[in-house]
Symmetry: C3
Subunit: 266 residues, 3 copies
């Protein structure tokens, strides 16, 4: 089973490089640059079409869409709803990243509205997933205060209620469709010491979601490729600065054989 | 001829370091940081004065102005028109980068409005230049789907109609004033694997445009210095992450002798 | 005296790593990423809660708040006032960085409004401090055109009038409470060749301000730790690109012993 899953991830990675999906990112002001660089390094590309009147025009053309609530200014909120509606109508897969909801009222209301548009994938830390499911009070920003396993019942419930794949990030990432849970144990603590460690993963999940209809498998592939490249980068880094640089280099070079050898999926 | 042009580029580089021009950048959210870092590394400086009520105050004081349409939010659109009008009135050279026009309606309308303010220089990829000239349908984001040579007639037409220098980016950059076309063949494919590869060049073109009235020559100089530094960086890079770092280092150290030796201008 | 001050800085650094303060940053679009990365590298964390309706909700929960006027869009201006009021009411220390005021009217009016909310700390370059005190005409962007010593009388006056600590950045940083002036002579010219060199320091000052009520001491500690790490990074850098990388690595590893050995405080 483990070997089969690693093999599927490797196939998805090869396919991603061939297809070079274009991901529309409506994301927060802190991570726009690193998100685009992560996609480009991996072999995908990025377009930050986040203006009302354009976001909905672009979503049907994009391979995938990321909606990240990190800094939800008024224009972006309109663009997010516009893009999510257009993506849903056109069959473009889209990812909701409900950054720091629970505590902060504007984004919490927006996340609920977006949830009813049935995101293809929801990615968050445990606190955010608990808050989205109405079971928690939210964390302090992007850092989680609950464990991924503690949020798994909430994640399964969201997956069943909205037909979404839910990915809960943590030292072990858990991905669920409500029935099957898959754990990805790759990664490095350094991903939490640089901005965008989680936010850029949302964009990568959107890129992989464009590769096929088994979004449980594509989401696992995204998490595995991303965290394997992070492990490779951590091995040659002296701190968070050199890690960020090595991570982009590793995303450009990580290959199917690395995935087959290193993937820790169960 | 080639040697003369390389010599002129070298002289412009020396003059840039001496003058340390301050470039006002109204640019997209993905590349603000890298754009400012590119200017600082090269020996210029950057000010992102992009708020209505300030953009037009700053433009007459700036050495040059960049208007990049990558993420044209409502306030920025007002600031762009305000700054472009003030720059034109004050004689501040300004660069229009019509990112991803053609497909996306808000920026396409804005680009046409800005075009009538007669930009000093227009920089774009072939799809964008074709779209600006009304001859194409636009690309998918910042990546071009047409070749630079295919866009050259459109570039020449824009140059003649609006009195602008037009720089078409690609593996070979073509710069035209409508009568004379100059090709810069330096560069590296890695510039397309990192964000800002094209967008930051627009800011560098604005910096060089402040050095003299021969904007065909200053634009060629900007393209040549930028892509020569990129070649130097690529030679010591292991991927897109280390390339970005090495590129800033190279922009800070690239000298007149490097330009005379390496420039591939025809 | 010098040894005592260096010892206090070292103690603050150890305490910062233990407390891991969460800093709310309402800052400009150029430096959001580097500001968050600097805080994360140092052992603090960042939340860019800068939307009206959320900024004031978050400020009482944050350990400290940065208000940086670099790109003050309309929504951000509302969020800044909201957050500063809430921070003051809740006792959250906050830092005002009046980027490029004097010349630019929107931010100048906003800075005056914020000043009357009595920032815990004001950080700026000499031109900005002079402009804030009504004694100067402002600089050209983030670069100073006056020396720190020339701005010291204005800094002392601001400190006395508004009960703020004032930090004037330059080759030698001067920190004053209106009665006592402390100079930090660490640093490197490379901090002026990368974006965020000054802006991210404002966030670090906010992080240290959360550690205790002696804000003269915490501000000196922030300036010293930041510039000592910059010295360490400069020693292993080949230019501004590699400096930025090494600086984040150094912020993660700089320790109490480094501070005791290297601090140049008088």
């Amino acid at each position: 089973m483990l070997n089969n899953r690693a093999h599927t991830v490797a196939e998805h990675l090869v396919e991603l490089r061939r297809a070079a999906p274009l991901v529309q990112c409506i994301t927060n002001s802190v991570v726009t640059n690193v998100t685009a660089n992560v996609l480009l390094a991996l072999g995908a590309s990025a377009a930050m079409a986040d203006v009302p009147g354009e976001a909905g025009v672009f979503a049907p053309i994009a391979s995938g869409l990321l909606v990240n609530l990190g800094t939800p200014h008024a224009e972006q909120r309109v663009a997010m709803l516009e893009a999510a509606c257009a993506a849903t109508a056109a069959g473009t897969p889209w990812v909701l990243d409900p950054v720091a909801i629970g505590l902060l009222p504007v984004r919490t209301a927006l996340a609920e509205e977006l949830l009813w548009l049935r995101p293809t994938v929801i990615r968050g830390n445990p606190s955010e997933i608990l808050a989205l499911a109405g079971a928690g009070a939210g964390g302090r920003g992007v850092d989680s205060t609950d464990s991924a396993e503690a949020a798994l019942p909430a994640a399964r419930g969201l997956a069943r209620d909205f037909g979404s794949i839910v990915a809960v990030s943590g030292p072990v990432d858990v991905v669920t469709d409500g029935a099957t849970d898959i754990r990805v144990s790759n990664g490095t603590e350094l991903l939490t010491r640089v901005t965008g460690g989680g936010c850029a993963l949302g964009a990568v999940i959107a890129a992989f979601a464009s590769l096929g209809d088994d979004r449980l498998a594509t989401t696992v592939a995204a998490c595995a490729v991303y965290t394997i490249a992070a492990e490779q980068a951590a091995a040659v880094s002296r701190g968070p600065g050199s890690f960020s640089v090595a991570f982009l280099d590793a995303l450009a070079t990580v290959g199917a054989d690395d995935v087959r050898t290193l993937a820790a999926i169960a």
